[in-house]
Symmetry: C2
Subunit: 107 residues, 2 copies
């Protein structure tokens, strides 16, 4: 299976990033990714069906927040730290810092 497509760094939209982060499940996925560097879909600790999960991962990928690397039958997700820092310096760090200040599961 081919590597899924990702937006070029230059075409990452700020509103798109915020949209991607506006869903609690996706925000939680991003927070989790910040702690492990690389993680496969089935290791995510989110109580959703795999099709829903796949959808959320697609949203994150298409917004330019994450990148997906194919390894065997698995897809390894990671944050696009360098690209995001290049395009919007300091934003990702501020987001991750903010996320750690908010109690987990505070809906």
């Amino acid at each position: 299976m081919r590597t899924p497509s990702h937006p070029a760094t230059d075409s990452i939209q700020l509103a798109g990033i915020f949209h991607a982060l506006s869903d609690p499940a996706r925000l939680s996925i991003v927070t989790g990714l910040s702690e492990v560097d690389e993680q496969c879909c089935s290791d995510l600790d989110v109580p959703l069906s795999k099709s829903t999960l796949s959808h959320h991962l697609k949203v994150l990928r298409e917004a330019g927040v994450t990148t997906t690397r194919v390894e065997g039958t698995r897809r390894l997700m990671s944050l696009r730290r360098d690209d995001l820092d290049l395009r919007f310096p300091g934003l990702l760090d501020a987001v991750l810092d903010a996320a750690t200040r908010e109690p987990v599961g505070a809906h």
Copy 2:
């Protein structure tokens, strides 16, 4: 007319902030507010009907991003800088900095 209600600083949700910022019109309003401190609804440079505008301002207010002060028949909007800095230090600055790096009108 009474001052509209605003969420307490403690109950501002991160996902709610991102949702509020995920719409280009609202992001543009926030960017504009960062330059003028206080602005009334009709001075906003957004090509939308006043009912739609009112809706967006409500979303921003309820997310805890802005505060509204009533003065006569006007409502003066401003960013909740202090509250946001208290709850999520550095986040607002990073957002505003990122917004200035993105060309205006880049949809």
